[in-house]
């Protein structure tokens, strides 16, 4: 996809996945952020900061970044990319790579723990690190937010920002629009709170959470801790075939 106004490219979910799997991250250069794609530096959220206020800010930013994708169509936060500002261009565009080592990126357990504490209802994300095809020791860290069932929306963040400041103990509903974060106005939040409760939905939600707990315990026993995202093999093969046919 090409945005003719700014002469940049945009990627969809499938294309982003393919670039990550290929390890050829140069393909992100020139790509602008959009509703599915957010480019960040390698470790953008300072979650280990000893200063409580700064740490709260980092948690708020992480939680709202993830929730706003969940409240739209899902997406990828791809870390290890620089987006230097470009004059007269309103969007962030990837200008260069700044990849990092696997051990330097976030631990999946840490991210999931923060989301569990900061976002309601329960939201599953995937945290992975993809090696570069030219240097297996460096790569891109990724947080993938799958598309969510409409019935489960909206995801509410318990730590949010107001006027550029991050506050703990406040609630907000962030939504991604194009490449920007938009907080649902209080009037709209109030309207949502007045909707007739759906008892069946609440029951389904409860059962789903219990099943999720069982599934998590089983998968922790079976799967290894280093499992990474794996797109369908036949889709990857199709891409290789297409490339070979057009060379």
């Amino acid at each position: 996809m090409t945005d003719k106004k700014t002469a940049t490219r945009e990627l969809g979910l499938k294309e982003i996945s393919e670039v990550l799997s290929s390890g050829n991250f140069d393909r992100f250069i020139g790509v602008r952020e959009n509703e599915f794609f957010e480019a960040k530096s390698f470790k953008p959220y300072d979650l280990d900061n000893s200063n409580d206020a700064d740490k709260t800010q980092a948690i708020a930013e992480l939680s709202s970044d993830i929730a706003h994708f969940a409240n739209q169509k899902g997406g990828y936060i791809v870390c290890g990319l620089d987006t230097p500002p470009v004059k007269d261009v309103p969007h962030d565009i990837v200008g260069s790579l700044r990849l990092g080592k696997k051990k330097g990126f976030y631990n999946e357990t840490q991210i999931k723990g923060i989301i569990k504490a900061s976002v309601y209802p329960k939201l599953d994300v995937e945290v992975a690190w993809y090696p570069s095809s030219s240097n297996q020791d460096s790569g891109s860290g990724v947080i993938y937010i799958p598309k969510q069932d409409e019935q489960r929306k909206y995801f509410i963040v318990r730590v949010c920002e107001a006027d550029g400041k991050k506050f703990k103990g406040f609630l907000g509903i962030p939504i991604r629009k194009d490449d920007q974060k938009y907080w649902l106005p209080v009037q709209d939040v109030y309207k949502l709170s007045k909707r007739t409760p759906n008892k069946l939905h609440e029951l389904a939600e409860s059962i789903s959470e219990q099943l999720q707990g069982i599934e998590t315990r089983l998968s922790n026993k079976i799967e290894s801790s280093s499992k990474e995202l794996q797109p369908k093999t036949e889709d990857l093969l199709e891409l290789k075939i297409e490339k070979a046919l057009h060379e």
Partner: protein, 235 residues
């Protein structure tokens, strides 16, 4: 390879379903995957096999490639994928002394298809020894450009033209280009070249209306499972 020249193409591709460690990918010694690509195993030297007599070249740092002109291209990828694209016309997998012969009667050679598929599966079996972490693989088989410019479609009969019963063994024309996927487990002992190759051939022949029992160059083991029997290939 220029897809737009509309030559019928037979494409075989396979890759592991899990992320694998392929640490020997860039090695160039005699025991390396690169060397195996340049000197693949074969049943018959002059048969339809993976030989290209080419030296492998690394492309974009992510795959080795060997070629025999445009009619045969084989790539070995860093993620453990193997890809082979071959012309399915008179220059390789089809019958006909000339291009015009083939255009008038566009028929694939059943032995060529069977042997070539077997050799691909066997080559990949050997490649699997070079990487760790694969629990299963997925094959992708495609036949493209099956409708020629004169609107004739690719044909296939189960027997060879020098077989007296050739005309009695019905085959058929393929309806359209097709793509098949096949997953194979790598649990100990389950990846057997002769069985995997037959599974692929069976699906391809079915697209031409040929049932598995009609496939030549095949046998049945003591468990009743069909396999490609290389002892039935002409010497």
């Amino acid at each position: 390879m220029n897809k737009t020249n509309k030559v019928p193409l037979y494409i075989l591709a396979v890759a592991p379903d899990q992320k694998v460690q392929f640490s020997q990918f860039l090695e160039t010694s005699e025991n390396s995957p690169k060397h195996l690509l340049e000197r693949p195993p074969y049943i018959r030297y002059m048969g339809w096999n993976m030989l290209t007599l080419d030296q492998a070249k690394i492309r974009e740092g992510i795959y080795w490639e060997v070629k025999n002109g445009e009619r045969k291209i084989i790539q070995l990828h860093r993620d453990g994928a193997l890809l082979a694209i071959a012309y399915a016309d008179s220059s390789f997998l089809g019958w006909g002394q000339s291009e015009q012969d083939f255009v008038n009667n566009p028929e694939l050679n059943s032995l060529a298809l069977t042997e070539y598929t077997y050799e691909f599966v066997e080559l990949y079996r050997r490649m699997l020894d070079y990487f760790n972490g694969a629990e299963s693989v997925t094959f992708k088989i495609e036949l493209m450009n099956t409708k020629l410019e004169n609107d004739k479609r690719l044909l296939l009969r189960p027997t060879l033209r020098n077989n007296p019963l050739y005309l009695l063994h019905e085959g058929g024309a393929v309806n359209s280009d097709f793509s098949i996927s096949l997953e194979v487990s790598l649990e100990k002992g389950t990846y057997k070249t002769e069985h995997v190759a037959f599974s692929i051939i069976q699906e391809v022949f079915l697209k031409f209306g040929i049932t598995p029992d009609k496939i030549q160059f095949a046998g049945t083991d003591d468990k009743g499972v069909r396999f490609v029997d290389v002892s039935k290939f002409p010497k």
